[in-house]
Symmetry: C2
Subunit: 414 residues, 2 copies
Amino acid sequence: MIDIGSAARAAKATTRSLAALPGRIKDQVLKDAASRIRASESELLEANARDVQGASQGGATSALLDRLRLDPQRIAAVAKTVESIAVLPDPIGHVESMSRRPNGLSVGRMRVPLGLVAIVYESRPNVTAEAAALCFKSGNAALLRGGKEALHSNRVLARAFTDALTSAGLDAAAVTFVDGTDRDGVRTLARLSGVVDLLIPRGGEGLIRFVVENATVPVIQHFKGVCHVYVDRDADLSMAEAIALNAKVQRPGVCNAMETLLVDAEVAGTFLPPLVRAMRERNVELRGCERSRALVDSLSLATEEDWDTEYLDLILSIRVVDGIDGAMDHIAAHGSHHTEAIVTRHHARAQRFVREVDASLVLVNASTRFNDGFELGLGAEMGISTTKLHAYGAMGLEELCARKWIAMGDGHTR
Amino acid sequence: MIDIGSAARAAKATTRSLAALPGRIKDQVLKDAASRIRASESELLEANARDVQGASQGGATSALLDRLRLDPQRIAAVAKTVESIAVLPDPIGHVESMSRRPNGLSVGRMRVPLGLVAIVYESRPNVTAEAAALCFKSGNAALLRGGKEALHSNRVLARAFTDALTSAGLDAAAVTFVDGTDRDGVRTLARLSGVVDLLIPRGGEGLIRFVVENATVPVIQHFKGVCHVYVDRDADLSMAEAIALNAKVQRPGVCNAMETLLVDAEVAGTFLPPLVRAMRERNVELRGCERSRALVDSLSLATEEDWDTEYLDLILSIRVVDGIDGAMDHIAAHGSHHTEAIVTRHHARAQRFVREVDASLVLVNASTRFNDGFELGLGAEMGISTTKLHAYGAMGLEELCARKWIAMGDGHTR
């Protein structure tokens, strides 16, 4: 097995030529990789079957098995995502706000790659292809360290990229896949200062805490989402119900699903009884604060722990609050800087919520489920950062770049 | 003495209200702080005299004493900088690129503060006032940990801000100054995940390495500058000489001064002899590669170590290279991602240098000395980041902010 430090250094060695690679060539390689993914369908299904069998024998949950499993439709979707990244505009070399200083020096900022981006992730094999494509498109070398469950699937997917690179006469180390199950490898990676330019851990809280605790390289966290919908006294209550239902049940297992519903005491008596019925019809388990329990029958009591829990499941906690200040206090105390929504017709309160709530996406009259790179118009995404530095929220190609300053003079001196 | 962890938590507790503070109030506080700095001139001179005396007795170098020393002119300059920051536009709340998605959801990005910014620095007392002003203007709480040499001066400067805050009815913990000489305090600060949102170490290599090695919080490094000027075969040689002289001698002790001159072999025979004479007239000690020594009399030999050294002094190393590729190879091997300049009349080579050289500022036909927030138009600066993530190069108010996503819907669900 290859040493992760050597693999990272080999990947890093490709960054200078990658940064100068014309967009046309990058796009060709990505389209070729997509074709190779399609062409390897049967091999990929076979490899994936081994992964699923192994995980199943290892006692994996059905949720993990679902994330792990590939079928012809999912394979086609992965190939299509890679192609959709190929056709996005090249982010590299884009010059912003070039302007002249009073002394005649022209000053601007040019987008450049970060260098070597390392991604440590868990069971979803599609991350291998999407992360590889996003990094390559943005001129970065990628070091991908997938989870042990998806090992065989990941190898086949990674080979689509390395073969496409080799076939274009490029260094295959630009997309380097390493497998391993030990934390030692992650620790090594996290301490390769000067080699790894950015480390993105994607996975459970344990993995992310381990990386943050051990890293000397820059890290962008994709942390948990304890997302709220706040129903204001001036909400359109039927809109509020539709948004709450969508935020909770459309896909409860993802980070932008709502975990806690906050309701202004002024409308809780009207809003909650039908909302609770609608949630129960959709098999949502409900836990409420004392004030909501006084308004609705047989609501189990939410504990302090509930307010900080990302259920990722058909469970919802409900809290009656005193207006927008109560809602914002609750969010400041229990939110995870991920996604927060207000439902209201009141302009000033909508504006205040947007300004004052500290989250990677703050919405007015829309479901928390919109915190997603595709929905926000990025074309593709690397995930949702809850780190404020560099990228806050959905990370697209731009967030995989840095901006350097450039200046054009005519013999300028100080 | 106050515990640094408690001080940081108290500062952090002010961030929510700071983020919502109207620009008008922030500007009043900063103008008041500037007045208080001016009014405390005699007290400040006295405190500074104690610092200078202590440092001098401790055997400080003349360069350190110069950085440490305040006089009425420098005090006035500090107050003026604080005022100039007050009149900059408020960065907070600025909304970028609001646009509608095909489904009618309006999506944009809003600038918000980072939260608590901690700055660990060394002997310059003006950093206390400038960092406090930049953080406060950008809605951040500031935790300032200055060097022991400047302790008394720093205390007086910090009090100008805390008094201005208190007098405006605001929590003085928004600008918290802590002093200490031990690395333990820095280590504690660097590991306050969830409290310190950004840590900026400014100082020597030892301090920065210590912080990076120990930090679990996000760090932006302000590292050394091994800056180059490359004189291309198509350079205007008199312009090249003027730029090289300016880059080396105008202020040799700063990070954007040139340390190594690279000269295209095609013009080295013409360019170097007069350049060497001009440098010697300015008392610059010169060290050259073998090829440059063959062209110029009595040049001492540069060692491999010279190419990686930030002299911060009137010393220059000179290397003859084979064209732009030779120059870019040297910079890739020995540069510090700080500031790199090319002198040329050749358009395509200028473009190539700008695109391919990886540095926080790349210049054409201008001195490296322009890598400075004021010169680049930021109005003020927190320093020059050599970290690629979040801020690369001169950091102004914008770089002390994050951008959150905002979205306005009309009952949007997925």
